[in-house]
């Protein structure tokens, strides 16, 4: 739990104005972590030590799965002389998530520095930055920043005279939620339809172009320079014990001050809604909250007291932190409509490879459409719940799970509202 958040000084968000120019970023201490690492690469900052430092800091992936970033790096096999890659995931397509674009726009070099350090640590030759195609404006920011970083000698051959060579490229998506899934992202980078791959082999064994690859979220890599600057012990002490560090909370929906906020993990949900985001707009009451993007289970207003934004607290409460993109819903929200729209999204975005997902997401949408329009029957609710168990865990990637969870938990937690819509009295005439 975080008590003194009012005095928190942001680390990812610059304190004033954007830091898109290399010189502005350097003036705030930028690229110092990279310089220190490369200067001491034979002593303090060997590749193993960098990986260990990030592992000890306890940084957990900010893209949704929450896996320890340093541990993921350590899965890379020993170099065999061939190419190795980092794919930086800036697909940011999970509904409710709009945080990485803030890094692209206001602090792109923080990400670039983190990605270079990461590439050094796992001996990657190149970093491919995958950004969703809709973010054209933010892709432009990144391309400019990368060009500038090359000019300043932070990228390319023999970086800062260290003998280390790292290239960085931007790859634009073209509108497909599934490409945020790591193996689909790699397929997309290879120029194909974004069909997720069967695992194993895992990306560290066979990733991009069949070579060892690590996929990290943009925000995760942006935390790396912070860890090296403040030290893993100090970083590990920030925010929630088992899920430390700063997080970009994307707050949207029915609040007075929506936006992206940076605070340590473990913020009380009630503090974020009522203090940080200025409370529910138009003086309404809170009805529900989706804490970390559309796939994370919805929480009723009576379920959030004392719950904080970190993996453990949210798991206990019956949800997940996901991307920390919080959607706040007021008392007037039609929860049946809301869930129907989510099922439409997953049906639209299913890649179509696996039957339980391709067909299941369609049936979820059809049944919810039936209920939403007043044609539903009570047994449809149990059919929906049954469908979710037949989808979950039976597909190549987690899209089916992501589609199933909101249905299961929204129906379970708002059953009375769904039942009311299934009763024919909706059409009674006075």
């Amino acid at each position: 739990m975080v008590n003194d958040y009012q005095n928190y000084k942001t680390l990812i968000l610059p304190s004033k104005g954007h830091l898109r120019n290399v010189s502005d970023y350097e003036a705030t201490g930028g690229y110092k972590a990279l310089k220190d690492v490369l200067a001491a690469k034979e002593s303090t900052w060997t590749r193993e030590n960098v990986i260990n430092e990030v592992k000890t800091a306890g940084l957990r992936g900010r893209g949704g799965a929450g896996f320890n970033t340093g541990l993921k790096w350590s899965f890379m096999p020993k170099p065999d002389g061939g190419k190795r890659y980092i794919a930086a995931n800036g697909d940011e397509s999970e509904p409710g998530t709009f945080k990485d674009r803030v890094i692209f726009e206001f602090n792109p070099h923080l990400f670039i520095e983190g990605a270079i350090i990461g590439a050094y640590a796992i001996q990657a030759d190149a970093v491919y930055v995958y950004i969703r195609g809709e973010y054209r404006s933010w892709i432009n920011f990144m391309e400019k920043a990368i060009t500038d970083a090359y000019k300043a000698g932070y990228l390319g051959k023999n970086i800062l005279g260290s003998g280390v060579n790292i290239d960085m490229y931007v790859h634009s998506g073209a509108g497909a939620y599934i490409c945020g899934e790591e193996s689909s992202l790699m397929e997309s980078l290879e120029g194909k339809r974004g069909y997720p791959r069967v695992k194993p082999p895992f990306p560290a064994q066979r990733g991009l172009w069949g070579r060892p690859t690590t996929i990290n979220n943009i925000e995760s890599l942006s935390n790396v320079p912070l860890i090296l600057t403040m030290g893993s012990a100090k970083y590990a002490a920030m925010g929630a014990k088992t899920h430390p560090g700063p997080v970009l909370y994307g707050i949207s929906g029915h609040v007075n001050r929506p936006g992206v906020y940076e605070y340590p993990t473990g913020m009380l949900i009630t503090d974020l809604i009522y203090d940080v985001a200025g409370g529910i707009r138009n003086g309404k009451k809170l009805k529900a909250l989706v804490p970390g993007g559309s796939s994370t289970p919805i929480l009723r207003a009576d379920q959030i007291d004392g719950v904080s934004m970190d993996a453990d607290s949210l798991r206990t409460a019956g949800s997940m932190i996901g991307t920390a993109g919080m959607a706040i819903l007021d008392e007037d929200t039609d929860i049946v409509d809301f869930l129907y729209r989510i099922t439409h999204f997953y049906h639209h975005e299913s890649c179509g490879q696996c039957t339980p997902c391709r067909e299941g997401t369609g049936w979820l949408e059809k049944l919810l459409h039936k209920i939403k329009t007043g044609e539903g029957e009570l047994r449809d609710l149990d059919l929906l719940l049954d469908l979710t168990t037949q989808m979950e865990g039976r597909t190549i990637c987690a899209l089916a799970d992501a589609a199933a969870w909101p249905v299961r938990h929204t129906i379970t937690r708002f059953r009375d509202e769904f039942e009311a819509r299934c009763k024919k009295s909706v059409f009674a005439f006075a």
Binding site: G133, G253, E262, L329, C351
Partner: protein, 176 residues
């Protein structure tokens, strides 16, 4: 019309190919490039891209049809992608979409007879805190929509005045 790449285009396409270890990987960026040039990637443009990259046309067609941002047919000059997903749904996204439909006299998926506007319903565009919003032809985001804002946007676009990129500064940065 016939679609061709000139020598300048081919130079740029070579630069794209140099970013990747395989030619296959150039499929998406070259489709993007072609769409920038021709406004869409219909079957003939897909054929051109396949020929240029010496890849099977079936592959390029497969890629073009998988991703929603590639226009597989000619679209209006301004394609208005209105987000109605999730946060935008509960913050008035549909209201904006329906207002736009009424104003332009066309429905989602249609193009005005003068070829100026197309309307599409978009899935989450990653502007959830600034809902409701729309995107113009895969480019600029227009945030915090109201009916009045939609009206003036349409008037501007009729005179080919594109809105500029709007930088939305996170609240914590505004205070400092």
């Amino acid at each position: 019309m016939t679609y061709t790449f000139d020598s300048e285009d081919l130079k740029k396409i070579d630069a794209i190919k140099a970013k990747y270890p395989t030619v296959l990987s150039a499929s998406m960026p070259v489709l993007w490039y072609a769409q920038e040039k021709f406004g869409h990637v219909n079957n003939e443009v897909q054929h051109l891209v396949a020929q240029t990259l010496a890849l099977p046309e079936s592959h390029i067609h497969g890629v073009a049809t998988f991703y929603t941002q590639y226009f597989k047919k000619e679209m209006g000059k301004y394609v208005l992608d209105v987000c109605t997903c999730f946060s935008c749904q509960v913050c008035g996204g549909y209201e904006m979409l329906h207002h736009l439909e009424e104003k332009l006299g066309i429905k989602v998926g249609e193009t005005t007879p003068d070829g100026k506007f197309s309307i599409q319903q978009a899935e989450c565009l990653g502007a959830c805190g600034y809902a409701p919003m729309l995107q113009i032809t895969n480019d600029v985001y227009v945030n915090h929509l109201t009916k009045e804002k939609v009206d003036s946007l349409i008037e501007d676009l009729k005179q080919d005045k594109m809105p500029e990129f709007e930088s939305i500064i996170p609240p914590q940065m505004q205070n400092s």
